[in-house]
């Protein structure tokens, strides 16, 4: 015996529809959590990452003992959290003797672990350590520029993987329209060695240049850190194939109020709003426009006189 359960409130229904799989996807939400032990640097890294991604991230403050992303059974908690919070990227920090200041960046497909990459953090500089003119501080939730420099990102497979994961992590929502005044942040990632990536977050200063394109200037606002590649796990081929599948046809938006008529062709109705005759302005008898009114009246008189003369001559 099965029972059909539907949400009783509109809000619940809307939440469920938001979480349903869509044809065209927008941003992914990030889940930030940590394991049994964290160091000072690691906890500040996680906190600052959360601040950078404020709109689309959820941070768990309690420690999680049974999460071991690289082991076969240690992913169940992560999958459960992903299901509950509807997050598809997770950042898991842990600090052990063998792997100090460890950060595991992972992605989910259908709330199952898709791929993982483990990095160690070195030379971390918090955003409080940077001093800059607060006018240029980037706003929360603005779409960032992402820059990758270095041949390592193309030649080394782990760095290639990291590049993909960092793009996914930092890009935020996928939008159609962008407001050019809202561009104020950039992430700069440089492959300084085949195993190390230098990551920093900068604010943008748009300076006047000769053309429409402003001259860009980057100011480091922090945080900045070195990421050392440790382990990674690529997705298996079938899963990757399925996840990379995109639907070619875009859902056609229904155009309203357009009809095709055989005789008239393309028709549409113009709906006029109700004329509030009581509130309509009749004459602008304000004293300030008195001169204009007089001149207009004179002009009109002249025109009628000239017209009459024309007609009489004909």
């Amino acid at each position: 015996m099965m029972e059909i359960r539907t949400p009783k409130t509109g809000k619940a229904k809307r939440v469920l529809e938001k979480r349903a799989p869509k044809l065209v996807e927008t941003g992914k939400k990030t889940l930030i959590l940590h394991g049994t032990k964290t160091s000072a640097t690691l906890s500040s890294v996680l906190m600052e990452l959360y601040r950078l991604k404020k709109g689309g991230a959820i941070r768990y403050s309690r420690r999680n003992e049974n999460i071991r992303p690289f082991e076969s059974g240690g992913e169940t908690s992560l999958e459960f959290f992903s299901q509950k919070t509807d997050c598809s990227i997770f950042v898991y920090g842990s600090h052990t003797k063998k792997r100090p200041d460890n950060l595991v960046l992972g992605r989910m497909y259908d709330h199952q672990v898709y791929d993982l990459i483990e990095v160690g953090i070195e030379n971390f500089k918090s955003l409080l350590a940077f001093s800059y003119d607060k006018k240029f501080a980037p706003h929360e939730g603005s779409k960032p520029f992402i820059c990758f420099t270095g041949e390592g990102f193309e030649n080394v497979p782990e760095l290639k993987h990291l590049k993909e994961v960092l793009t996914d992590l930092f890009r935020g929502e996928v939008v159609d329209n962008l407001n050019l005044t809202g561009l104020d942040r950039a992430y700069v990632c440089s492959a300084i060695s085949p195993t190390k990536v230098f990551l920093t977050h900068c604010a943008l200063k748009l300076k006047k240049s000769g053309s429409i394109v402003p001259r860009m200037e980057l100011v480091e606002v922090g945080p900045s850190m070195d990421l050392v590649i440790r382990r990674n796990r690529l997705p298996n081929d079938s899963l990757m194939k399925e996840a990379m599948r995109t639907s070619k046809d875009k859902p056609k938006k229904k155009v309203k109020n357009v009809d095709q008529d055989a005789v008239l062709g393309k028709t549409g109705k113009i709906y006029m709003p109700d004329q509030k005759l009581g509130d309509m302005k009749l004459l602008d008898k304000s004293k300030g426009l008195k001169r204009e009114r007089k001149e207009a009246k004179l002009k009109h008189k002249e025109e009628t006189v000239s017209k009459k003369m024309k007609e009489s001559s004909e």
């Binding site: 015996m1 099965m2 029972e3 059909i4 359960r5 539907t6 949400p7 469920l16 529809e17 799989p21 869509k22 044809l23 996807e25 992914k28 598809s88 259908d110 898709y114 791929d115 779409k143 960032p144 520029f145 992402i146 820059c147 990758f148 420099t149 270095g150 041949e151 990102f153 590049k163 793009t167 890009r171 329209n177 962008l178 407001n179 050019l180 005044t181 809202g182 561009l183 950039a186 700069v188 440089s190 492959a191 300084i192 060695s193 230098f198 920093t200 900068c202 943008l204 429409i212 394109v213 402003p214 860009m216 200037e217 980057l218 480091e220 399925e242 996840a243 990379m244 599948r245 995109t246």
Partner: protein, 324 residues
Amino acid sequence: METDMETEQIYQVDVGNLLAFNPNHRFPSAPSSREELVKECIREGTKLVQAIANTLFNFPSTETNDGPIVQLPPPTTKLPREKHIPRPKPPTKWEEFALKKGIQKRKKDKLVYDEQTDQFKRRHGYDRVNDDNDVPIIEAKATDEPGVDPFAKRLDDKKKRVGKQEKNRLQNLKAAEKAGALPSHVQLAATSLPISGTKAQPKKIGKDELGDVAGLAATSTASGGKFDKKLPGEKPPKKQGKHHKYLPVVAGRGDVNAEKEQTNNVLSKIFSKHSHEILNVGKAINMYNVKKEKKKSGRSDKSGRSDKLKPKKDITKKSANKAK
């Protein structure tokens, strides 16, 4: 400037993601100092950002109150999806039938002309056309049975139709779930008892039941639950046992005569002339007969059993059998 233009062409720019990649820069393997390295990285970053901005600011922009808005092209870097592509819903039983028969969907109007009242009434809702509850007279047909209430029969038929529709809807949803295309706001949940041997679903206890059980547990303690620690929000237990209200007898506590009257009424009823009418003779006889029969059947059953299994009768307790 020319060298700049050359290197620009080799940058991989994805404007949809505001992403740029320079695959040709080589960092020195022995960096001079940390600061130099940082400066170099930022310099390279600036070049990349400038490259993206060059393309971005040359897009046609529309002016709004907040600033120039530009239409971004779709991103070119392929990133994995978050969830699977929504699967197509399998056609329902009716849809299959309609397809087979070639039945087209027809749009129904909200207002329908009602012949009886000569006006337009709505199709569904308050004061609707052809409302089942409004018919005053149902003419009897030759096939009708004499004892059947046609109005009740109509209600019954409607209930059956609604039940059938719900069953069909459930079947359609089950088929959709099998195909992985259940609508996002619907959940199917199992509600029946499981087959024996499997883990039984815990029965849900209501608030009142919990309160009763807690009360029982409290009174079974030595002090009758009076000194038990109460959880925040727990209500004091309801008065246990029989609830008797005794009227006051002492002059200071209230109306003394009310109690006197009560007892006098009871006495007068017993001593009155028609006191035999209080007793329901028929009922008394029935009770006596039933008891007798029980005793007879009980004795015939018990003959085979040994004394040790019989509950020991307490001789100090007086028997309640006085109506013999």
